[in-house]
């Protein structure tokens, strides 16, 4: 039992540290999704996001391919980080329960 407990304690420390780090990285990513709107036969980029709990469309003008790919990449990363953060929260919950740290 001692060995398992020691391993779990180490894993809990690691998970808590990583949870903090992934949350920081998630917050640092640019928010929103790019939306392309056609106005009078011309296409314009908008950023769809939430501001103070309300949906907002921000006009971005015509973005370069590099800027667009940055937003697309950020969206992909956000999804991945959300999944990893959820996994880490499950890990912490599981380990705390195993160590009887959580009622």
């Amino acid at each position: 039992m001692g060995i398992i407990q020691g391993v779990l304690k180490e894993e809990l420390e690691n998970s808590l540290r990583m949870l903090k780090r992934y949350r920081q990285e998630y917050k640092a990513l640019p928010k929103g999704s790019l939306v392309r709107k056609k106005v009078k036969n011309k296409e314009y980029d908008y950023l769809a996001c939430r501001e103070n709990g309300k949906f907002a469309l921000k006009y971005m003008g015509q973005l370069s391919d590099k800027e667009k790919s940055e937003y697309i990449e950020a969206k992909k990363k956000r999804l991945e980080y959300r999944k990893l953060i959820a996994d880490l929260r499950d890990q912490v919950k599981f380990i705390k329960r195993a160590l009887h740290e959580r009622k």
Partner: protein, 224 residues
Amino acid sequence: MSENDKQYDLCFKVLQRLEDAGVLKQIVLIGSWCAYFYKDYFEEELPSPRTRDIDFLVATPPRIRPSVDIPAMLSDLNFFVHFHSNGAMRIEHPELIVDFLVAEKGKGDSGPYKVKELGITVQQLRFVSLLLDNAISFVSHGFHLTLPHPINFALQKLIISGRRTKFEKADKDRKQAIDVLKMVMGTNEKGKIRPLFDKLPMGWRAAIIKALKSENQSEILAGC
């Protein structure tokens, strides 16, 4: 995919990248993951509680060709670099923590060690030099792995068990070492245990005997 499958999947992805970069065969896989890969050496599974750390030992001076930037190589797999308080790096993911180590050359030389060839700064550890002697190479899961010889692995675990501050870690080291030694005793390599033990410095031998005695396994050395 279960939690365990996810970890194996990621571990194999990391190994694949190291193999593709030509680095894998130049570094030695050490730590608790050895027990998992020894099953291909012994053709029998070893029971072992394993943390998510996967440790690699780099021989010094590093002569790794070609040079690679490991943190950059793993960043798209969502690994992040974590710095220890002394500046040494570890590369972390919720499923796996990749750690690189080098052997400490002498007392007072325990600061972080820069491995330019891999783009990392690593921790120096005592006694791990024993893991580089008689290292074995074999193919497991399609990877060309280099691992410490099981006897060296077990004896090193016994030595460090006496220096652990956490009882649980010391207990884990001793039990893992004894499991490996018992596995070796069932093979034709049994006769190699005693000669290797006899070659070790006196202090190391005393530490091994003490660790075996504390587990009531002194007969392991007597029986070789």
